[in-house]
């Protein structure tokens, strides 16, 4: 892959590293460099879930399970809602887990087209 495209990949990685877990960044970068420009544009068109936004949602409305609904865990979200945030415990636990979950969901989505 030529230098211009490599630079483009590096720029993409710098701009989007917050959407993925650290150990996933390397895999994405490798696959992008192996692929063509088309692949990168397809990647850029995917909607990503912002981990920081999810943390805010979790802090504010985590008791209702809204954070889980947003990352796509509808079943878990309903369970969380029915138990009033797992008696509050699940609410607190998700404050710490939700960012990682958002990043994993983003990565799964990306893997489908890489």
């Amino acid at each position: 892959m030529n230098k211009e495209n490599q630079q483009r990949v590096n720029l993409y990685m710098m701009a989007n590293n917050k959407y993925f877990q650290p150990h996933q960044l390397h895999i994405i970068s490798q696959k992008l460099k192996e692929g063509d420009e088309d692949l990168m544009y397809r990647l850029m068109s995917l909607p990503m879930k912002d981990p920081v936004l999810l943390l805010v949602i979790s802090l504010l409305a985590g008791v209702f399970g809204v954070d889980r609904f947003v990352v796509g865990d509808v079943g878990l979200g309903i369970a969380k809602l029915l138990t009033c945030g797992g008696l509050g415990i699940w609410t607190i636990v998700d404050w710490f887990l939700i960012m990682g979950r958002a990043k994993d969901v983003n990565f799964e989505q990306v893997l489908q087209i890489l």
Binding site: V63, F64, F69, G72, D73, V74, G75, L76, I78, A79, L81, L82, T83, C84, G86, L87, G88, I89, R101, D104, V105, E108
Partner: protein, 139 residues
Amino acid sequence: MRGVNPRTFYRLTLGGSIAGFIYLWWVRTSTTGLLVCPINSITGYPCPSCGTTRTILQILSSDPIQSSLFNPLAYIVLMGMMVLPVWSILDLIRKKISLYSVVSNGEKLLQNQPVLRWALLSIMAIIWMWLILQNQNQG
């Protein structure tokens, strides 16, 4: 449940069920009474699961048919609390992961069928509205 391996799933399910029973036992035997839902105390409006504890305790201690419906969703929670631990233990004994498979496929189904998702959420919203209206009539 994507990204959760079976072992964690079963630990959480069993742990959560046990925690639920301990909570129920604690509420029943404690004199200080229920931990009030923070949303209810701040805003005065019930959250969708308000009254679940009261409903379950009443179902378990008296005639279920005559129990006043504090919260219909409580029946789902109660069924869950009865079915999930039993199924989990059966799975562990038979060394199968049938519960995990059912839950995973259920989640996938919800992912792929937006109609189902919206149907479920609408039902919950309707029950929530009904709860709020009920509380307003009494309060």
